[in-house]
């Protein structure tokens, strides 16, 4: 029976709707297992810009630092996307949060619920049994290097950078995880062209010496982008840089049937942050149709990783499994065989999950 303080940071778009469901799930877990969870809320992204002028107010950061874990939604707004000269952007809040909290490791487990085998655009016989754990480096690379313009604004540049230390610490996390799984690690880079990738590969090779029981493979990112679709079962743990991880994990969401099913954990020096890998999805915001399961599964990751509550975490995952087995689907994972009365909106889907905890 533990007492924990959880910060809810819904952010933009459907972040609000899905995080509300995630929070209810945490509440139910607390009640059922006799824990005391207290909550607070904080602003980030477009909603923070509207309210305070900045995408991550100091107050939000302070609250994050003081909490035991953060349940996060999404950031982003089309308004900025179509204005390349915008100086303040919702995404800056997200990047600042990652940097300030030292969230250097982003874990993205890609696993297909059996019930959703048919929901993917990939053939079931290719998918069945696929189970990948991505480690995406999250506080370095071209995301955080110097960027700007020269020649009167006619030339733009971005600097990608990695230090040995940055690669080492994420490598160790990935190797440790591989040890508890199938003992296979695939490191993805573009070492045939890029210098940061050459350092990356060097460090992985060195760290590998400490884990002789783990089988290591190095792949070029273009090959990985192809192999993830061609043969997803060949992967166990994948470790890669920030930008490549961004691209490959979104691609890999198709292995799980839908982005709406995928949770992620960002961990590092202090408070961990848990969030869906999907974005703010303004096209469906406010319609009550967003799939809340990625936020629910983020709550499960939070319980497991930040609170060490394995049983509680499994109770959440089993509830999701049960809801899917009962045939309930949100719109994004429904298909031609789904009965119309089994297609549920955000809240109704959440209620079904709560029923089974």
């Amino acid at each position: 029976m533990a007492t924990k303080h959880i910060l809810i940071v819904p952010g933009d778009g459907i972040g609000q709707e899905v995080t509300a469901v995630g929070k209810k799930v945490l509440d139910k877990i607390a009640a059922k297992f006799g824990h005391t969870f207290t909550y607070d809320e904080a602003l980030i992204g477009h909603v923070a810009i509207e309210a305070t002028g900045v995408p991550l107010p100091d107050e939000s950061l302070e609250k994050m630092r003081k909490s035991d874990a953060v349940l996060f939604g999404a950031v982003g707004h089309p308004k900025y996307d179509n204005d390349p000269s915008a100086k303040v952007r919702p995404e800056q809040g997200l990047l600042k949060m990652r940097k300030e909290l030292g969230l250097y490791a982003n874990l993205r487990p890609i696993k297909l619920f059996d019930e959703l085998l048919g929901a993917s655009s990939i053939k079931p016989e290719i998918l069945k049994g696929a189970d990948i754990l991505f480690f995406r480096e999250l506080t370095g690379d071209i995301y955080f290097g110097e960027k700007g313009r020269k020649n009167n604004g006619d030339t733009a540049y971005d600097i990608a950078e990695y230090s040995r230390y940055e690669v080492e610490r994420i490598a160790r996390k990935a190797f440790e995880a591989a040890r508890t799984r199938k003992k296979k690690l695939c490191s993805v880079d573009k070492a045939n062209v890029i210098e940061t990738s050459r350092l990356w590969r060097e460090v992985i090779q060195q760290v590998a010496l400490e884990y002789p029981d783990v089988e290591v493979e190095h792949q070029f990112v273009d090959a990985t982008a192809m192999l993830l679709i061609k043969d997803p079962r060949r992967f166990d743990v994948v470790v890669t840089a920030n930008l490549f991880g961004d691209i490959l994990t979104d691609e890999a969401s198709q292995i799980a049937g839908s982005m709406g099913m995928l949770a992620s954990a960002s961990i590092g020096d202090g408070t961990g942050v848990y969030e869906p890998i999907h974005g703010s999805a303004h096209d469906i915001t406010g319609k009550g149709v967003a799939n809340p399961l990625a936020s629910v599964l983020s709550a499960a990751l939070l319980l497991d990783i930040s609170f060490g509550m394995k049983t509680e975490s499994e109770a959440v995952i089993n509830a999701v499994d049960k809801v899917l087995k009962d045939g309930y689907r949100s719109r994004d994972i429904a298909d031609a065989t789904t009965a119309p009365d089994k297609i549920l909106g955000t809240d109704a889907m959440g209620e079904q999950v709560l029923l089974h905890i």
Copy 2:
């Protein structure tokens, strides 16, 4: 009846085997249509390093400049891949060729031959009718910016750079192509994080004003990586930067059933270069099993784009179609339904194509 000089540049690994087939196809076309094609050969990549110490000898470059078109194979060797500190690499030859010949536009048509609908890991009902033309920028971005080490080698950096001019010229090529197709252009960037992408988006928006008949969509690269698999038919022409194009086109090869089927054209200021998008594939080199069709289809692109020989180009494509309809498959595109005696090696597959020209 034209006279043309074609330079054959096989490069490394299976490049040798597949380019030999591509050349035979060009020969047959010349004979059949009464053209005179003369040939020469040049070194690049690992084989060039072995023979001369450098990955692209001046002599090769000179021959390329003087030829009417180049039929290229592949470069690369595992020896360098696993040695992050190698100073001379096969890939440097490829990059130098692209830069020196001003090959700023890499066209990668992704189209599925009907006969191969079953060969992909993606469901046939998702694929049927997909037809995408990628324009990958090929002489800028992080590929060609300054790169190096600092802090005693403990920090690596790569600079990504784009100028307005570089984006404009590839944008125009892509818009022109969209006009001859479904009039839809998707520009892919990461403008929510990267400055070069913001410039990219700015320029695409400006050039779009000259093409009001073309419908433009901007996507973030992570979303595109996902949507290519989820719904490939939503794309017509896609234009993107060098690194994103590298990743996305390899991924998109799964739409065409296999990398072994995909050809590309690199064009720009002078001689055009035509090559498979697959690599040197040292794991199958020398075994005579490589699929030669990507090189054959590269020859078709060469005839069309560099020589303006539409009929000749179609004759090649139709021959490939016929061979597939006859049920012949190389190993990479064979499946459980392929009769063992229909699975052909590199040369035998080439012979079948020649029969139908």
